[in-house]
């Protein structure tokens, strides 16, 4: 490995960089293995060009736009390129409350972002549903997809979102993802159920044109 890359990564001297435990190599499909140290270099590079998905759900997205605008200007940190396609994004900012109707779309967008990916839940609604403990709001987006950083607030100020993005940057440098420690990713588990079970849904998708009796 080119030792000079360790210096670029700001990890101190060459000796210190090599003193860190290397761990096992990262294996990719096709038999390619990558030393962990190189993964750190990649993480260093990624951390300065985190491109979030251009995607807002509710009023928190206004604060997200403020962070993208000239006053707070997240382009200073290489995060201004909000990609409109999940194929080009590095992660997503769940900005606002997610309705149950919207939930399958959010999951689909998450699944379309290529690995590695990071998710930031912005605002109380994305974290817990906030006051919308009602019939139509997902009670915390982490019931659907793994979340890296939670930024509380209603809505959080742009500085708070900036701080959350800095925490994402740290996680990128360390190559840590929210899905690392999970035994299951909720959405993927649902997908596995969908492919494994041949049982039709309990409730037909077409709602008949009758009055539904209330319990």
């Amino acid at each position: 490995m080119d030792c000079s890359l360790g210096n670029i990564a700001g990890r101190g001297s060459q000796e210190e960089a090599f003193d860190e435990p290397l761990g096992g190599p990262v294996r990719f499909p096709g038999g390619i293995a990558m030393p962990v140290q190189l993964e750190k270099v990649l993480g260093f590079g990624r951390s300065f060009s985190f491109w979030p998905l251009l995607f807002g759900l509710a009023c928190c997205a206004i604060e997200m736009m403020a962070l993208g605008g000239p006053r707070f200007d997240m382009s200073r940190f290489g995060m201004e390129a909000m990609r409109a396609s999940p194929r080009q994004a590095d992660g997503m900012i769940i900005a606002g409350w997610c309705s149950i109707k919207m939930a399958p779309r959010v999951v689909r967008l998450y699944e379309q972002i290529p690995d590695p990916k990071w998710v930031l839940a912005m605002g109380s609604c994305a974290i817990s549903g906030n006051i919308w403990d009602t019939y139509h709001v997902v009670q915390g987006i982490d019931s659907l997809i793994p979340v890296d950083v939670y930024v509380p607030g209603c809505p959080p100020r742009p500085e708070a979102l900036w701080e959350g993005l800095e925490m994402i940057r740290e996680r990128i440098k360390q190559s840590r993802h929210a899905y690392d420690g999970l035994r299951r990713i909720p959405a993927r588990e649902a997908l596995a159920q969908a492919t494994a079970s041949s049982v039709p849904p309990a409730v037909p998708l077409e709602v008949p044109l009758v009055e539904v009796p209330r319990s």
Binding site: I100, A103, R108, Y135, H136, L144, A187, L191, V207, S215
Partner: protein, 177 residues
Amino acid sequence: MSAGGGAERPLPASLLAADRAVLDRFGARILERIEAFGELTYCVAPGDWTEVLSFLKDSPEGAFDQLDCLLGDHLPEREDRPLAVVVHLVSHAHGHRLRVKTALAEGQGLPTLTGLWPSAGFDEREAWEMFGILFEGHPDLRRLLTTDDFEGHPLRKDFPLQGTVGGRIRIDLRGKI
């Protein structure tokens, strides 16, 4: 009259002409006529719903070419007819607006307006979904804002405000992702 208007604010002349035409044609079938703040509201019986509204659309005095919105309403204190439907009409030819209301009993249907204004389709879907008002003859009366397997009509006053009521918060993503 003060410049700011108020309950005494007069109706526009074009709307007065339409008002006269409607009253000449329907008379007592307009159950109630409310005039306030420069706006006019009719209350009609559900049986006259289509006839009154098609007259308003087609008469040259009315010429209401746009259905601005169609709303449902739930008034449980009105026990015999707890449901209501309100339409807001706009005439671009005359520049005036009109509101028409009707009251419905529980389970009573109302003829659809999609034949008069195609934009009524989404509004009627929403009114059915949120209040359980049946629109007879609607071509596609499916749920609009909630998921397909949702049970109940959430904008009714007796719908629980809070909680995972009756298992309504179900995140069943099978076949959707």
